[in-house]
Symmetry: C2
Subunit: 251 residues, 2 copies
DNA sequence: CGTTTAATTGACATTATTCAACCCGGGTGG
DNA sequence: CCACCCGGGTTGAATAATGTCAATTAAACG
């Protein structure tokens, strides 16, 4: 994949900037803050937890590459994925406020993270306004995304759920320049979709088949082709407002 | 209801303090900030939107009394309540970052709000650290609550869902000193529960009946009596960690 | 009283789950 | 090269959960 900046840190910063075009002028400050506060780069193999079980989530992370799930495993063996984080998303931003999270962070792919020194809350806004703004923006956006997930889980049927999440994934990948045409490249298998949408694997399969029969989308291992984005959006009444991206076309 | 402080503003501040016992020492600063920045007190009748349709959500609010829903109405007539806000909760805290929200705020009861002058983000942390911390805490906590809602909607059956939300409501009311014994006083009717839990009204009714048959909880108009909180928590594997309250017993 | 709103109940339809089987491609070891 | 296995994926049938429709009751209110 082509990247127009050399340093990985600037690439991640660029992801942030593209998403947060509403915030705008803080971009330079953000890059500077990241440069100042980034400690090191961590590699985490696929399948591992980002922060261990009882290890208190101590650090702030910025994803450089890979997909990370925030999920909860229930006693009955069921699992629900609350959300997933992509390059340019923060992890553990609530570690500044809470000692521990009640959810698991799991690397779905191999993942590289920037570990960021977390300044005292007060210092953050005075000395690192760019980072502070980015964190606030990201937290608010994540909240909005989860709220939309609640709507999907509560009041959309399986076809609408699937169509909606495909639209969301496409929009989020586009926001970080990772959509090539109408192909979603993703590590999500059908079981992951099941645990995101709150339905069974079998039903995910059937629902993908319906999308395929109607020539709307085609599931393949490792990628999903969107054949008719118009109808995909209509099907789920997808309205990207909740993502709070600027106008990505505007650059 | 008996309140141990005279000024309404201090009562709302007290709600915040009780919840945010983890933050601790910022209490005095918070009250001072509220005193400085609170403009006026707004009354909103039951059923009305807190901020009108296209009116840009301009202000930060702190709930003094009443219940507020954050919800989304779908074209098909379905409705999903994403979360509900109680006295001591903020409204529109994301208005500092985003122009508009993609969700509706609706007063379920008559509601009184403190309208709070929103300082510039940067000023917030330097001049109003108490408010800043409270806002950050509240935003992170709300996010956690919604994440738990995702788990409920995705992977719990109707009985577990209902049991879980009853535990949550009880815990949240307790945190602001509004639980008297084992009685939940609430404006939620069965349709509201349906729209919170993502199931049909009829099924809410059936599920309440089951709780009643098993002598676990009793639904009555305007209040719900919890007969067996132990079993209610077991039924839904309720773990209050996600609420991030301190130890409420500790005062 | 009559009217309204919410709660309740039963019969039935739909949706989704579970279970069980089978397929298919990519390793791996013989 | 083949036999085998394994993780997904695919399919069908039986079952359970939940939704829809329609009608009834109960309480709340002027």
């Amino acid at each position: 994949m082509r990247v127009n900046t050399d340093l990985p840190l600037e690439r991640a910063g660029e992801f942030l900037r593209r998403k947060m075009s509403t915030i705008g002028p803080l971009h330079d400050s953000l890059i500077r803050d990241l440069r100042t506060l980034t400690r090191d780069r961590v590699e985490i193999p696929a399948g591992r937890m980002v922060v261990g079980e009882e290890e208190r989530c101590p650090q702030l992370y910025l994803i450089d590459s890979g997909w990370v799930f925030r999920s909860r495993g229930l006693a009955s063996g069921r699992r629900q994925i609350v959300n997933f984080a992509l390059p340019g998303d923060f992890l553990c931003s609530d570690s500044i406020l809470f000692k521990a999270s009640s959810f698991d962070l799991i690397a779905r792919t191999g993942v590289t993270l920037f570990r960021i020194e977390t300044p005292i809350l007060a210092d953050m806004f005075t000395h690192h306004p760019g980072l502070a703004a980015a964190l606030a923006w990201a937290a608010a956006q994540e909240e909005s995304v989860i709220a939309e997930r609640v709507v999907s889980l509560g009041r959309r049927d399986s076809l609408e759920k699937l169509a909606h999440i495909l639209c969301e994934i496409a929009a989020r990948l586009e926001a970080i320049g990772r959509m090539t045409g109408d192909i979603i490249e993703t590590p999500l298998n059908q079981e992951d979709f099941a645990d995101i949408l709150g339905i069974s694997v079998i039903h995910v399969n059937r629902t993908f088949r319906k999308l395929s029969e109607d020539k709307i989308a085609e599931y393949r291992k490792g990628q999903i082709e969107l054949l008719d984005r118009q109808r995909l959006a209509e099907l789920s009444a997808f309205d990207p407002d909740y993502l709070h991206f600027g106008h990505p076309s505007g650059g």
